[in-house]
Amino acid sequence: MSNTFEPKILGILCNWCSYTGADLAGTARLKYPPNVMSVRVMCSGRVDPGFVLDAFRHGADGVLVCGCHPGDCHYVEGNYKVMRRIPLTHRLLEGMGIDPKRLRLEWVSASEGVKFQQVITEFTEQIRALGPIQLKEVAFAPDEHGGNGHVTDKKLAGEEV
């Protein structure tokens, strides 16, 4: 199974540098794995650690956050904010039994199409090696997505409660 595992990775890219860098990788027709699904935010400083945790509990195998290089943020210090959040988020993940290597922060400028290609390739391979995230399913009732999310006897029976 493991050699056919295709990781699902959420990429959160800042509008001014990294998303443009990704765009450049595309227009330059650089090849990289299709596993990263990108979401654009105005600034990496917008990335709340809650986005990361929410992504994992919805089954993301990895989360990649990309912003402008330090000193280059269009909002001056948004990327310093995320730079301070990530190490503590890593420790939260570790404490919750999720390998912190599943979350990565990278600086990608608008001209670094090649770096974007490398980061995506490398991170995808790293997550592939880590394998699929295995959540304790029963704890993940679909509370915000239809259904009332309540524990049912069916869920309790047979499953690890």
Binding site: P49, R84, H150, V151
Partner: protein, 323 residues
């Protein structure tokens, strides 16, 4: 007119919430006067079978404290939900999982093994473990089975309102009970479902009298390591204070006693995950733009999961350890 019925229940709880209700002092007489008490295991000897015999929706108000972590907890929660018009998750355990929810950092096997075999206080070599079923001469004895995952009340049954706090402050309880009596007496409309009662719509910091100067810090301290200035924000003095990630309502009780807020009122409005919010709050006071230095400074926080999720782990995004 018959009196409206009231039930108070404890599931996986410490009993503190029941005591907090008794702590409303003379107001408890209004409660006894206005309501017909049908269940309150902590205070009086009612029988489950009498409550089970009541028609559905015949209990006007149930104040349910305690988390759900066994078949028995679930059974009573469902039964009371059926019988009650208004179901209130009372206190942090029922609302957020609270301290019992920290069991979600381990598996049930690990917990049982530690509690009954390997804890230093256990006689070594003991093999006695609680069994769900035991045969004795008189027949079969059963005890409820514990779950691997501790859950909040709302993860198990429909909840109408929440009263946060570990335990909720007695003046807040008195105010809520006063408001409920007023609503029922005068036929006023109930607040919208899901409303958090007995708390504010802001964070604990909002009630905190300490001065804030956006001072940047380069080192964290455990509370015993320094004597904090009584007038300045604790977080700005390098003491992890969960005020920014906690709902107001207690009157900043701990903070005014020179102790950091530990987060018992749960998430403030607009916040879903207390730990994530705390990470952001901490990040915003750290004064460094050097990744290695940041890593070092953050090491000063001994136990992020246990500190940021002390009361809300079971209701956080990840809910339990995923190992």
């Amino acid at each position: 007119m018959p009196k409206p019925k009231l039930a108070v229940y404890w599931a996986a709880s410490c009993g503190g919430c029941d005591i907090a209700i008794l702590d409303i002092e003379a107001k408890i007489l209004d409660v006894a006067d206005f309501f017909d008490l049908v269940l309150w295991p902590c205070a009086a000897d009612f029988k489950y079978k009498d409550v089970e015999a009541l028609p559905d929706k015949s209990i006007t108000l149930t104040l349910f404290n305690g988390a759900i972590r066994s078949d028995e907890n679930l059974h009573i929660a469902r039964m009371l939900r059926e019988k009650s018009v208004v179901m209130v998750a009372f206190g942090s355990c029922a609302s957020d999982g609270c301290i019992p929810g920290l069991a979600n950092l381990y598996s049930l096997d690990e917990i049982m093994d530690y509690s009954y075999k390997s804890a230093p206080s256990m006689e070594s070599g003991t093999k006695t473990m609680p069994q769900p079923k035991t045969q004795v001469e008189e027949g079969e004895l059963t005890i409820p089975t514990l779950w691997n995952t501790v859950r909040t009340l709302a993860q198990c049954v429909d909840v109408d309102y929440y009263i946060p706090g570990c335990p909720p402050q007695s003046d807040q309880i008195a105010a809520v009970i006063g408001a409920v009596i007023d609503i029922l007496k005068n036929n006023k409309p109930l607040p919208p479902k899901g409303t958090v009662l007995g708390a504010t719509e802001k964070s604990c910091c909002d009630e905190c009298p300490r001065e804030r100067n956006v001072k940047k810090i380069r080192e964290f301290h455990r509370p015993y390591e320094i004597i904090p200035d009584p007038n300045i924000c604790l977080l700005e003095q390098g003491i992890v204070c969960c005020g920014p990630a906690t709902r107001g309502g207690c009157g900043a009780k701990c903070v005014t006693a020179n102790m950091a807020c530990r987060g018992c009122y749960g998430v403030p409005p607009g916040v879903r995950d207390q730990g994530a919010k705390m990470v952001s709050a901490i990040a915003s006071v750290v004064d460094s733009t050097d990744p290695e230095e940041i890593e070092e400074i953050m090491k000063g926080i001994a136990d992020p999961v246990g500190t940021f999720y002390r009361f809300t782990l079971a209701d956080s995004f990840l809910r339990r350890t995923q190992k």
